[in-house]
Symmetry: C2
Subunit: 204 residues, 2 copies
């Protein structure tokens, strides 16, 4: 791609660094921004520098927060004996949206992934152990993705946590509600059959 | 979506304003940015403010440029008697990539689109007429999209330009090279047949 302006090229390059944004999309977005007013562009840019500069992570669960203790950890309604371990903020939001969970969270900040050079020490695992050590915790729910990295992390956490007198659980895996059998992939379907549950226990 | 941080929400909102970027994508991109170093985020933000602040448009063709006259208009190799009228910078880049065109450009900055409130006066049409009036121009190529807006703009420009002693052409429309007939839409195929050209004139 030949750019008529270095500034334009720079802006396109910066956008293109984002995951899933190619050069053509980046150019389209930059040209869209150029059509906006100077104030709009400034507000756009500042949103990110402000976020990066002033972002805080909750000192308990490490969720993104504007205060040193997040809303969830502050709430008296939440059950501090149950910790749900998740990969990142998006997962907290997804679980909060279900309105099913009343415990607190622990945000790992990633998953163990040797391919990407992410080891256990890069994640907030020690602080999770510290929380468990304090003795208040009764159950740790490992709500991680059903991927290779998720499984590896679950296995690692399980080994670390099993010495404590707590329940360790993972979220249920199987076919999604509303999912038709013929479209479910073989691994999921196979595991669903192997991990079948008695009909009485079914939760609607 | 419930955000655990106002700053996060703001950043996601700003991203979400971009065309084709939904809330989920915006959140994914913002969380990606958050993982970058402070310098990277600053460079990202500044690329856009810098662009908006220092961007120049070529005084002749209105293409985006770092100088008051763009590289193409400065070049002695380009034929100033032929002006290719395009919608925006992306089209200039696309045509330049073909290495087929040796004339100069005129960037309209949009297309006539009553639905979006864009009229002829919002585009750089007067300055095109001015360029033609200077008498050096022999041909104007209308290289606009084959859409309703493109056709409307072509028609408007044709009426404005026909009083001058110049050739007015549009780029050829038809089935794409490598395109298989059965997958071509009916309108394109129908028009391709109506506007068929003698075999001898075919340019490889």
């Amino acid at each position: 791609m030949h750019f008529s302006s270095k500034l334009l090229e720079q802006a396109v390059e910066e956008f293109g660094k984002l995951p899933g944004v190619g050069k053509k999309t980046a150019l389209r977005l930059v040209l869209h921004l150029l059509k906006q007013s100077k104030e709009d562009v400034n507000r756009f840019s500042q949103a990110f520098t402000q976020l990066k500069e002033h972002i805080k992570y909750c000192q308990h669960c490490f969720n993104i927060s504007d205060t040193s203790t997040c809303e969830i950890c502050q709430s008296v309604k939440r059950d501090r004996a149950t910790i749900c371990v998740v990969e990142d903020t998006r997962d907290v939001m997804a679980i909060e949206n279900t309105n099913q969970y009343q415990g607190v969270y622990h945000v790992l900040g990633g998953l163990i992934s040797p391919m990407d050079g992410v080891g256990p020490s890069d994640l907030r695992i020690e602080s999770l152990i510290d929380r468990v050590k304090q003795g208040e915790v009764k159950e740790v729910i490992l709500a991680l993705s059903a991927t290779m990295e998720g499984d590896t992390t679950i296995f690692y956490l399980y080994r670390k946590l099993q010495e404590f007198d707590i329940e360790i659980s993972t979220i249920a895996r199987g076919i999604a509600f509303g999912g038709e059998l013929e479209y479910v992939d073989e691994v999921t379907l196979g595991r669903s059959i192997m991990t079948r549950v008695p009909y009485e226990r079914k939760v609607g």
